[in-house]
């Protein structure tokens, strides 16, 4: 691997890490505490899922695990559990990432929806089994819906603002080689 592509790789990883920190940090802001009823989408999942489908090489699993764990600690979730679910979810998406870009966006969206639903279900199941107080079902449904609905927005932001896109056909082989 040449020097410039190494720089690109680590640059991409750093960019992902910074965006992940922003995603973790946004819900902490005291913008309007009166809006407690409003459920924010799971920004970190949106970022990671959309990123892993497009550029699996710059969002390696260890970085996702570290960031998700930091998120767990900062946002007062049971530490480690949601990070585990996210890691499993992104790995599931990553496995499909090879042929994903040949398909339509709708299929990508459905896949993300299914994976997120499964992750939430596993999360709740483990919480239920270990007798941790579980957030109400209404809240979870709202989180699920809001996250699924905002997936296209996240993809658009990644595509146009951050410029994270599918690798061009010529580069594909190389970038996937670097990933796996």
């Amino acid at each position: 691997m040449t020097d410039t592509s190494g720089m690109m790789l680590w640059g991409g990883r750093a960019l992902y890490a910074v965006l992940a920190l922003v995603c973790i940090y946004l819900p902490l802001l005291p913008v309007d505490p009166g809006l407690r009823g409003v459920v924010l989408p799971d920004l970190f999942f949106l970022l990671s899922a959309a990123w892993v489908i497009r550029r699996p090489d710059t969002a390696p699993f260890w970085l996702i695990a570290i960031m998700a764990f930091i998120g767990d600690m900062m946002l007062n979730r049971p530490p480690g559990l949601w990070a585990f679910c996210l890691l499993a979810a992104t790995e599931a998406i990553r496995m499909r990432a090879f042929d994903q870009h040949e398909r339509m966006f709708l299929q990508e969206w459905i896949a993300a929806t299914l994976v997120f639903g499964a992750a939430l279900a596993v999360f709740h199941l483990i919480l239920f089994v270990t007798l941790v107080p579980v957030p109400s079902n209404g809240w979870t449904m709202r989180l699920f819906l809001v996250t699924v609905i905002s997936y296209p927005i996240a993809v658009l932001v990644l595509h146009w603002v951050v410029r994270i896109r599918f690798p061009e056909p010529a580069k594909r082989g190389r970038s996937f080689g670097a990933m796996s």
């Binding site: 913008v31 049971p78 109400s136 796996s180």
Partner: protein, 302 residues
């Protein structure tokens, strides 16, 4: 993949899979550790937050400022109506002020008659709310005062109007306030008038439930709710809110504290009450012993 048949990538993928599984197990292990040994992991979390959140403080200021500006902008169009309303209210307040002054006078006179000893004033520390995470697991806020300012676990936090929550989680410079709306929050209260004891338990809604009342029929919507001081965690007689009834007929608490605008909180320092030791004794004249014994010896002779 093009080079999937090579041996080296296969080996790499196998080790990668193993590492992924290991990391997953590690994360699950941390979760289980948290479940078993909660306090230690929570103190680790507190240390992390203590370390990192204050360093983000500089980003908070412009954002808080901007959001406040936006909300101020929204309220400008309502300003005229608000002004009228305020003038009317001021008129009413003047009447009340008169009444209050008179009452104060009477009160002072009665106190003087009574020779009342007032309870020592609660001392407090004021802190600023750094951030609040409205996660579904905890409704809590972070304060910028901590152990070195004299905050302890379990102290009551109030805003100007009423009880907000309880300190739970302490760093050197930060502390976490569990709000009354949090699912883990239970506060013994007393409903006035009627002095019904009860328990306010949060359920992640804006209006926590009032439970375990002795006699529900004595409690009406609009009754005022104070802390009862039972259990010794909170001082007694802090205003919490007033009673309301939800559509299901359950009693809920309309909080007196303004939860939408938590900026500064007072943390009430605990001033331990003088304990009353032992039950009451017999009340008898305190005569010197020799005087008391003398008539006993004389009695048989008479």
């Amino acid at each position: 993949m093009a080079n999937g048949s090579d041996k080296a990538p296969n080996l790499w993928r196998a080790t990668r899979r193993v590492v992924v599984v290991c990391v997953s197990l590690l994360l699950l292990g941390i979760f289980i550790l948290w479940r078993i040994d909660n306090p230690r992991v929570e103190s680790l979390r507190m240390a992390l937050i203590d370390r990192f959140v204050p360093s983000f403080n500089w980003t908070l200021n412009p954002i808080t400022y901007a959001s406040r500006m936006a909300s101020n902008w929204q309220s400008i169009d309502g300003l005229y109506a608000q002004n009228r309303e305020l003038q009317r209210e001021l008129q009413r307040m003047k009447g009340w002020r008169e009444a209050a002054l008179q009452l104060e006078e009477t009160n002072a006179r009665l106190r003087a008659l009574n020779n009342v000893r007032l309870s020592p004033r609660l001392s407090f520390i004021t802190g600023e709310v750094l951030s609040d995470s409205g996660s579904p697991f905890r409704q809590s806020g972070l304060l910028n005062i901590g152990r070195i300012d004299g905050v302890e676990d379990g102290l009551a936090a109030v805003d100007g109007l009423g009880l907000v929550g309880r300190i739970s989680g302490l760093g050197d410079r930060t502390s976490r306030v569990i709000l009354l709306t949090d699912i883990n929050s239970r506060v013994p209260v007393i409903v006035q008038p009627g002095s019904e004891q009860g328990l306010v338990s949060g359920d992640n809604t804006n209006a926590p439930l009032i439970e375990f009342l002795e006699d529900r029929s004595k409690v009406r919507p609009g009754d005022r709710v104070f802390t009862s001081g039972a259990g010794g965690v909170f001082p007694a007689d802090i205003l919490v809110g007033e009673v309301a009834v939800d559509p299901d007929g359950r009693l809920r608490l309309r909080l007196a504290a303004d939860y939408r605008r938590l900026e500064f909180l007072r943390v009430l320092r605990r001033t331990p009450n003088q304990a009353i030791e032992g039950p009451g004794d017999l009340i008898r004249p305190t005569a010197p012993p020799e005087v008391a014994e003398a008539p006993v010896q004389e009695d048989p002779e008479e």
